[in-house]
């Protein structure tokens, strides 16, 4: 779930809709997929660009906290798995930018908006990865939280987004299992490894809960997005589902969830749990998290340092096209 607090256009009642908007809503309600060249309300297009763009940016920035451990992975096999995982994430970014491009925005435009701060990425990637156990915790918790949102989004109304999600979900569930496998090794390892595992859970638990965004009571954009099937579940529903799934997994590892208020609630058939610190969340979103500046600096530096490289490739492509054209003319 790499899209948080995506601003959606104001909700309209059926009477306020134009006939075109009504027909569009009927298609969505019937479960039809909307394809790129078909008519869609401007608000639908804009909201999707924000959401898919934010998701794509999260995949790209998300390479950094895990990339941080590739050169220090403890075995060759772990190194290979981590490399493959980070490569998958870059691949997800690519599908998602391609999906966004079908809505009439280029990858470069989206990249510029990320770098200028006009577009966001998931708050989770502004937390540091401090020990090898964090590679486990990120896979288990962060990919686990992402899957909660992405599985229902396979049914989203926009065709290219839905198809991207189907591919992404297959890889994400594999990543989550790999993360859990790292946690298992650490939890059954030496006392130092167990300590790292518990510490990783302590640090990533609340930031993972924040990934779902603030409570729906405060989320003004949910209703329209849900009507358009850009959003399938509410933030609170997904957060509850995540907690219910994760608590037994932590118990299996012999690790404790860092929440004294965590209790099984028979009546609701789920756990009661403490809310994350939302003021911390808003600070992270504003750019004041532990790694916001480093993450953005790293991306901007990669982009700026690579300008000559991209320009070289464009120039060559132009020269080659020119030569081909000249050769064709000469042949005629």
């Amino acid at each position: 779930m790499y899209a948080q607090m995506v601003k959606s256009e104001g909700m309209k009642s059926r009477d306020e809709m134009t006939p075109e908007e009504q027909a569009f809503q009927d298609r969505v309600d019937r479960g039809e997929k909307i394809e790129p060249k078909e008519w869609m309300p401007e608000g639908y297009r804009k909201t999707l660009i924000r959401q898919i763009g934010q998701h794509a940016h999260s995949e790209i920035v998300g390479q950094l906290p895990e990339g941080n451990w590739i050169t220090r992975a403890p075995t060759l096999e772990r190194k290979a798995i981590l490399l493959a995982k980070v490569q998958d994430e870059a691949g997800h970014g690519l599908y998602l930018y391609s999906a966004a491009e079908t809505l009439g925005v280029s990858r470069d435009e989206l990249t510029e908006k990320l770098h200028s701060g006009a577009m966001k990425y998931s708050s989770i990637f502004n937390y540091p990865t401090l020990t090898w156990a964090d590679m486990g915790a990120v896979g288990w918790l962060v990919d686990g939280a992402a899957i909660m949102n992405q599985v229902p989004l396979q049914r989203t109304s926009y065709g290219p987004y839905s198809r991207a999600m189907i591919r992404i979900c297959k890889e994400e569930s594999f990543h989550q299992r790999q993360g859990y496998a790292i946690m298992m090794k650490m939890a059954e390892g030496t006392p130092a490894q167990k300590e790292m595992a518990q510490d990783a859970l302590n640090r990533f638990w609340y930031p993972s809960l924040m990934m779902f965004g603030p409570s729906d009571a405060e989320s003004v954009h949910s209703a329209q997005s849900i009507a358009w099937k850009i959003k399938i579940n509410t933030n609170d529903e997904l957060r509850q589902k995540f907690v219910d799934q994760t608590v037994p997994q932590a118990e299996y590892l012999g690790l404790s969830i860092p929440d004294d208020n965590l209790r099984w609630n028979e009546e609701k058939g789920g756990y009661d749990f403490s809310e994350p610190n939302w003021s911390e969340f808003f600070e992270v979103i504003k750019g004041n998290g532990p790694c916001n500046r480093e993450r953005m600096n790293a991306r901007v530096k990669a982009w700026d340092d690579g300008a000559w490289f991209r320009e070289g490739l464009y120039a060559h492509a132009e020269k080659a096209a020119h030569r081909r054209a000249a050769a064709t003319t000469a042949a005629e």
Binding site: P74, L76, R78, Q87, A90, T190, G306, L313, H316
Partner: protein, 273 residues
């Protein structure tokens, strides 16, 4: 340490060379050279992860690094078997110090800009491909088997790095300048790829691997034609060549690579990951 599973050959074919005691010291050294160059270059390439100039490059470089780590697992795994002292690929990768590392110096040089990274890859790939092609016909079935798997990837690496050298060499003035500078910077390290010593002679005599000097003509042909298409000037003879990596005499850079790579294994001896 755990036995590496990825890329490991599950039912190894019979290979009398693997248990040939007389040959073992040279064969082990040679396998470490193969594995260590893949490992150290894979490490360098992986440093780009998330920092490349375009998303496609992030993906391609992670892919290249992944292939090289896979090769490492196979070569060092076989090295451990030949040595027969209970060391597996991970023990060799993580618990030897710089003096025991046998990679080419070229592989450990810092990434520099993308020009240096791509040019280093190209100079390495041209030789790597020529070498692996020959190794597919090795008298050692295990070596031939690893080479057959690795050469498919090395062929793609060479295709990609050649293509980028051409496009950047014949790109803008700046990209050409950077590529030419990278070539000049790396040129003193190329001769090491073709120098033969007693280890190479022993494995060549057994029919396991070609003499490295036999690869030079093919390498030069590849490099010459790609550089010509890239509008880059091929430097003359390197003059004083930088050598020593394959006998454990490295640049200052390798120590830092190993300090980073081996940190967890060194800090938590015996832990399983």
């Amino acid at each position: 340490m755990e036995k590496a599973a990825t890329g490991a050959i599950l039912n190894p074919v019979e290979d009398r060379f693997v248990s040939d005691d007389a040959l073992a010291p040279a064969f082990f050294e040679w396998l470490c050279r193969m594995g260590d160059s893949a490992l150290v270059l894979g490490h360098r390439v992986s440093e780009w992860c998330g920092h490349a100039p375009a998303l496609e490059e992030d993906i391609a470089m992670a892919n290249t690094a992944l292939d090289l780590i896979g090769h490492t697992q196979m070569w060092l795994g076989l090295a451990g078997e030949v040595e027969d002292k209970g060391r597996d690929a991970d023990a060799l990768a993580y618990l030897r110090d710089a003096l025991q590392f046998r990679n080419l110096l070229l592989c450990e040089l810092p990434n520099g800009d993308m020009g240096v990274t791509i040019m280093r890859q190209f100079l390495f790939d041209a030789r790597h491909y020529a070498l692996l092609m020959r190794l597919t016909g090795s008298v050692s079935p295990r070596v031939a088997e690893i080479a057959a798997k690795a050469v498919k990837e090395a062929s793609y690496h060479l295709e990609r790095s050649s293509d980028l050298v051409v496009r950047l060499g014949d790109g803008t003035d700046e990209s050409q300048r950077r590529m030419q500078a990278a070539l000049g910077q790396l040129w003193p390290y190329v001769d090491e790829m073709f120098v033969a010593d007693a280890v190479d002679e022993a494995v060549a005599k057994a029919g396991i691997a070609p003499d490295p000097s036999d690869l030079k003509a093919e390498w030069e042909e590849t490099v010459r034609s790609v550089l010509a298409e890239a509008m880059l000037d091929m430097p003359g003879p390197a003059g004083f060549a930088q050598t020593g990596g394959v006998i454990g005499r490295h640049t200052e850079h390798l120590g830092y690579i190993l300090a980073e790579m081996q940190f967890l294994q060194r800090a938590y001896p015996g832990a399983r990951w």
